[in-house]
Symmetry: C2
Amino acid sequence: MSETAFPLSAETSNLKRSVMRDLLCHAVDPEIISMAGGLPASEYLPVGEFLDCIETVINRDGSRALQYSPQSEALRVWIAGYMSGRGVPCTPGQIFITSGAQQGLAILSRLFLDPGGPAVIEDLAFTGIQQVTRGRGAEIRTIPVDLEEGIDLEAMEDALRRSPTPRLAVLVPNFHNPLGVTLSAEARRRAAALASEYGVPLIEDDPYAALRFSGEHLPPIKAFDDSGLVFHIGTFSKTLSPAVRLGWIVASEEMIPTITAVRESIDLESSTLLQRAVVEFLERGRLEPNLERINDAYRERCRAMVGSLEANMGELARFTRPEGGIFLWVELQEQLDTGELFDEAIERRVAFIPGSVFSGNDSHRNTMRLNFSNLSPELIEEGVKRLSDVISSAPGIR
Amino acid sequence: MSETAFPLSAETSNLKRSVMRDLLCHAVDPEIISMAGGLPASEYLPVGEFLDCIETVINRDGSRALQYSPQSEALRVWIAGYMSGRGVPCTPGQIFITSGAQQGLAILSRLFLDPGGPAVIEDLAFTGIQQVTRGRGAEIRTIPVDLEEGIDLEAMEDALRRSPTPRLAVLVPNFHNPLGVTLSAEARRRAAALASEYGVPLIEDDPYAALRFSGEHLPPIKAFDDSGLVFHIGTFSKTLSPAVRLGWIVASEEMIPTITAVRESIDLESSTLLQRAVVEFLERGRLEPNLERINDAYRERCRAMVGSLEANMGELARFTRPEGGIFLWVELQEQLDTGELFDEAIERRVAFIPGSVFSGNDSHRNTMRLNFSNLSPELIEEGVKRLSDVISSAPGIR
C-alpha cells in the first residue's frame, strides 16, 4: 500500500487495494457495457415506495427517527420470522442487525480470528471474504471449488481436521460469488456436521438466497446446525436497496452481547431512520412483490447471458448456469489470461472481472466473472458479443 | 465475555461489554432523569427539514439514491470547505467519509496499531477510544488529564519518547468526553509538534467542535500539522443527527487509498441516500441556523447544570465548567465511590455514568460524567437536586 513516514499495521499491509471500487466505476461510464460490478438492477429499486416509508416513519416517530437508538426490535422480529420460514427456527434475541453483509463478515472475523490463525475459505471467494481472512494475515486453507457441486467436501474435511484447528470457515451456499453455483441440501447438512465435528465456527455468507429465479429454495446451512457453530449472514442490499446498509447475523442468543461489543467498537450502530423505514416497507408486505419483479427480470437476464454465451462462445468457453443470484462464471481455454484481455475489452467498451481477483494467489487466470443483474437483455447480448470478439481474436486462441 | 465451545480472538477478550448501551437505555425510561447518555437534544433534531431534503434527493436522483455508489464528491467538497474555514486548508481528496466518528477511530486504529503495540491515550477517555486501543490489546501509555489544562504535555512527551515508539496517540481537544475541558491553542500547537518530532500518528477526535456556546473557536490540532501525522476526525452525529451515521477523516491525500481499503473491509460504504440528503441539508445552508439553536439551548442547559451544582453541591464536589459540548465532570470527596452510589441514584430516579468507566483501570472512582444536552433546564435542576440528595446521604460523606 502507500509509502508513509510511519509504520502501518501488519493487517493493513495484508489488505489489497480494493479492485471492486475501481471496477464499479465502469458501471457509471455509459459507453461501457459493464458486466463487472455487483449492482442490483437500478430499475427495480423501490424508489417511490421507500420514500413513502421514510415519510410515514418520520411523520409518525419524529425525532426518535433521527436519534441514537437500540437496534429495531421490530426489524429483529421480522428477520427471525423470515429465517424461521426458511427452516432456521430462531428468536429475535438471536438476530443482530449489521450495516450490510460485509459488516457481518468483519464482525465475525474479529470475533474468531487472531492474526496468523488458520481460516478455511473456498479457493475462489468474494474479495470481501478474502479481506477479512487473508487480509487479516490468516493462514489460509482453501477448499477447491467446482462448477457442478460447488465445493469438495472431502477437501473441506481435510482443512478442518488439520492441526491447529481453524478458527473459522466461510461458505457461500447460494449462487456463489463469483461462481454462481449452489450447494445441494446434502452438502449443506454435511458442512454443518463437519463444523460441529471439528468444533470450527462456520460462517454462512448468504446475500443472494432470495434471488432464486428457477428451481426450489434449499434450507440454509444454519438449518442443519445442532451445535450453535453456524453463523448465518443475510442482507437487504440485494433485495431492497444497498443504500439501506442493513444486514443481519443469526447466532446463538448467548453470543449476541459479544457480537454487540465488537460491532460497537467499529461504528456504534446502524441508522435508526433506515431501520424504521425498512420495517415499514416489510410490514407493508412490499418485499415479496418486489422480489417477484426482480427475479422475473434476473431470470430473463441470466437466460439472455447464457443464450448469448452458447451462441457466441460455445466453443471458446465453459460457463455456469445459475438458478439465481447475479453472477455467472466463465472458463476460457487454459492458455488464455483474462487479465491480459481486460484492456482490450475496455477498448471494445465491455467490462468483466478477471477471475484471478477471486483467487487470492493470482491463479485461475483463464476465468472471468460476469454480472447479469444490472443490464437489459439487449445490452447483455451486445456485451457478450463484444466479449466473444475480444476472446476469439486473442493471441494464443486455439 | 461469554463462554463458548470454541475459542474467541484475543481482541474479543480484551473488549469490554459496552456500558454505554446499557446506560442509554435509561434515557428511554421516562421516570428517570438521565444525565448518563450522550444524546443530542431530541427537540433540536431537524426532523421536518431533513425529511424535505430526503424527498428532494429521491425525487431528483431516483434509483441512484438507493444504489451502491462512490463517496459523495459534493459532501467531500463541503467538508473540505468547512475544515479550511476552521484553519485546516485541505482538498476534497483529503476527505474520507465514515459512518460516524467511531468508525474513523476504528479505521485509524486498524491502520496503525498491531495487537500489543504501544498506544498513547488520555487517562480518562471515551469508551470508544478505549475499545480501539485497550480493546485491541495495545500496550497503553496514559497521559494524565487535569480539569484546567486538559492534558499534561510533558507527560505526553514522555509517553511519545519512550521506546518502542508508539503506533498512535489520541486526543480530544474540544469539550473532552468525559471531562468537558478544552485544550488551549498553544497546547494544540505543541501536541502537533510532538507528533512530528517523535514520528507518531496523532488522531484528533473532534466530534463536539461546532458545539461551542461560549468563548472563541480554536483551530484544530490538524491546523498546526506540518508533517501529515495528524489525522482529524469529525462527525455530523451531534450537529445534524446521529441517524445519518456520517463522519469524516481528514488525512494526507496519499493515505486515502489505504484508508479506503481498510474501510471497505469493514462495511464497504456509507449510505448514498443519507450522504445525498446531508449534502442537500448543507447546501441549503441549514447547518448554521440549526447549530445556533442547538448552542443556545446547550448554553442554557449547561448554565442550569453548573448553577444547580453550585447551589446544591458546592461543598461536596469539584466540577468542570465547559464552554461547549454536551458533558461536564464531577469529582466528589476522595473516599466516595460513584459506582456504589449508582444503584441508589437509580432508585431516586436519576442516572449518571460513574467516572471509573472512562479510566480503563477502575481508577477515578470518586468521579462521574454528567450530560446536559438532552434535558430541559428544569429537569437538569431536579436531576442535580436528586443527585445531591444521594451524595449528601452517602455513607462516608464528610
